[in-house]
Every structure is written in C-alpha cells, then in structure tokens.
C-alpha cells in the first residue's frame, strides 16, 4: 500500500508501473484499482498484483490538446502517458486533472 500512500501525498489518481531501471511500461494503477485491492483485503499486495496490465494510452507531446480531449471522450480514456522523442520515451501523464487546471488558467 506504499503506492496508495504515495498517490495521496502527490495528489494523483494514476501511476504508471515501469520495470525497474527502464522506460518499459508494465501497466498502470488507478485509484479504483487500489480501492478494489483494499476491499479484497490485499493490503500487502505489490504494485504488480493490483495494476491493470493493459498498456495505457499514449499520446505524442506535440499533439494538440483538442485531439487528446476528443480521443478521451471517444475512447473513454482516463489518462495518457505522454511520449516524446525518437525512440518515444514517456515524459509525463495527462489526465482530466491537468486538463481542468488548463481550463482554469485560460
């Protein structure tokens, strides 16, 4: 439940699980994944036990936000791993939280 604590401290709703010492994405953990683990009493579980194995959606850093938003709505995406460079490397996450903050700035 170290992940749960860290997510609370950082105020984030999603984390990406990577293989140690690499950029390879193994899966992702959402708040709901953690909630399910708690309800099932799996409080000693490792990140790899509770994470969703489906590869998170990725989007290029240069892509317009409107495209990101459209894909989110059309495909029901909760968050993206933002990738940049060649070969593509993860550089950040983009979720509803960041988009809401962007709207408030405009």
């Amino acid at each position: 439940m170290e992940v749960a604590r860290k997510m609370q401290e950082d105020g984030v709703a999603h984390v990406v699980v990577a293989s140690a010492g690499s950029d390879l994405i193994a899966g992702s953990i959402s708040e709901l994944d953690l909630l399910r683990a708690v309800i099932e009493g799996k409080t000693e579980a490792m990140a790899s036990d509770v994470m969703s194995l489906a590869a998170p959606a990725t989007i290029a850093a240069k892509e317009p936000l409107a495209v990101a938003v459209k894909r989110m709505r059309d495909e029901g995406i909760a968050f993206y791993v933002v990738v940049d460079g060649t070969p593509a490397r993860p550089v950040g996450l983009l979720s509803h939280t960041e988009l809401a903050a962007y709207l408030a700035r405009g």
């Binding site: 105020g11 709703a13 010492g21 309800i39 009493g41 709505r73 979720s95 509803h96 903050a101 405009g106």
Partner: protein, 214 residues
C-alpha cells in the same frame, strides 16, 4: 467486528463496517447552473476541490460536475454552461452507509466520487429522481478520501490493548525468502563487479540506479 478476524481481512472488514459520515468530506461547493465551464474550472481550482454541485436559481440541484465533466465543455469553455456538462445521475449514498458498500458501488459504476445526502423517507434510495426527498447534500466521498485514511482505518481494527505497530505486520514467508534470494543475488553481482574491476555504469534516465525504484 470480532477479534478473531484474519489479519489479511481486517482492513476490508473495517472498510465494510465504517459509516460514510466518518470518512466523507463535509460540505459541498455550489455553482450556478448558468455559469461557464471556464468559471466552474476556476471555482474548483480556487477551492482546491475535484467536484462542485450545480444548482439553478431556485436552489434546485441540477447535477454534479467533476474534472472529467469539465472536459465535456472543452471546445467552448466560455459559452458552455455548468448545466450542460453536469452529471444528472451521480451516485448518491446515505451518511450511514458502510464505506465498503459505497466502495463497491463506486467500483461497479467506475466512479471515483459519490454525493452524500440524507436518506429519503422511503426505503428506495440512491436515485437522482428521489433527490427532492433527500434535501441538500451533506458532502461527498471520493476514492481518495478512503485511500487517504487507510492507516487510520487499519489501526481502528487492530486497536485495543495488543495493537502491534504498523511496521510489525505479519510478513509472508514467501516474501522473506524472495528478499533473501534478491539480497544474495545483489551481493554476488557486487562481488563480481568488484573482482572484475568494471567501471561504474549508469542507467540513462535514472537518477539513482542503485535504488532500482525509478
């Protein structure tokens, strides 16, 4: 709650039995139904909250707006109104409902937040159509509120005279074995590197490779 509960199930037991009112955030921030999506976003930022309740001019509740609803007004945030993006069918729970129950209902619907409102006079509850019978909401409960109080919820179960400290929880034998094996492998690798005199290598994009946690 019994003292004989298995350690692994204890946290789940607490979560199941604890009433929502002890974990929820009390109070809701309201916004007018006709303000722009941009203004709703600013209200949420200024109050540092993830959701507001849209109400019309006669204080009738229109619906719940969270960060994901804001995205519905993305193309015209200054012209789209709060009423247009509000979720008119949010999850509504009673303050006396067990946190575990609410958590399951959140998981079933894939929602990260529920409104907490007084129970309606009738037995059937939790439906937006019965909103008027419930009266103004008391607050909200989010997944983050439950996860943020895991330590406390867990401690409440282990409470009493013989409560062990958090760090002294039972560790499964398999975990101990795995740790021992990993340590031996690591020592072997270090020995190998030292005896063969390899220069120190670093992993690109990793600030602290020895921790293996990046």
């Amino acid at each position: 709650m019994t003292a004989t509960a298995a350690p692994d199930a204890s946290l789940g037991d607490t979560a199941r039995t604890r009433p929502v009112r002890e974990v929820m955030r009390h109070g809701v921030v309201l916004c007018d139904a006709d303000v722009s999506v941009r203004d709703v976003a600013r209200t949420m930022r200024d109050h540092r909250i993830g959701a507001v309740l849209a109400v019309d001019i006669s204080s009738e509740v229109i619906g719940l707006i969270d960060e994901s609803s804001l995205v519905r007004g993305w193309s015209e945030p200054d012209r789209t109104t709060a009423a247009e993006i509000a979720d008119v069918d949010p999850l509504i729970v009673d303050p006396g409902d067990a946190v575990g129950d609410v958590a399951r209902r959140m998981l079933d619907r894939g929602l990260t937040r529920a409104l907490v409102a007084p129970p309606p006079p009738t037995e059937e509850s939790g439906r937006w159509s019965e909103w008027k019978e419930r009266g103004l909401p008391l607050g909200m409960i989010a997944v983050a509120d439950i996860l943020g109080r895991l330590d406390e919820l867990g401690a409440a179960v282990r409470g009493g005279s013989a409560a062990p400290p958090l760090g002294a929880r039972r560790v499964p034998p398999a975990a101990i074995a795995a740790t021992v094996i990993a340590t031996l492998l690591l020592l072997g690798l270090m020995l190998f590197l030292v005896t063969h005199g390899h220069p120190q290598t670093t992993t690109p994009g990793c600030s602290n490779p020895t921790q293996g946690g990046c």
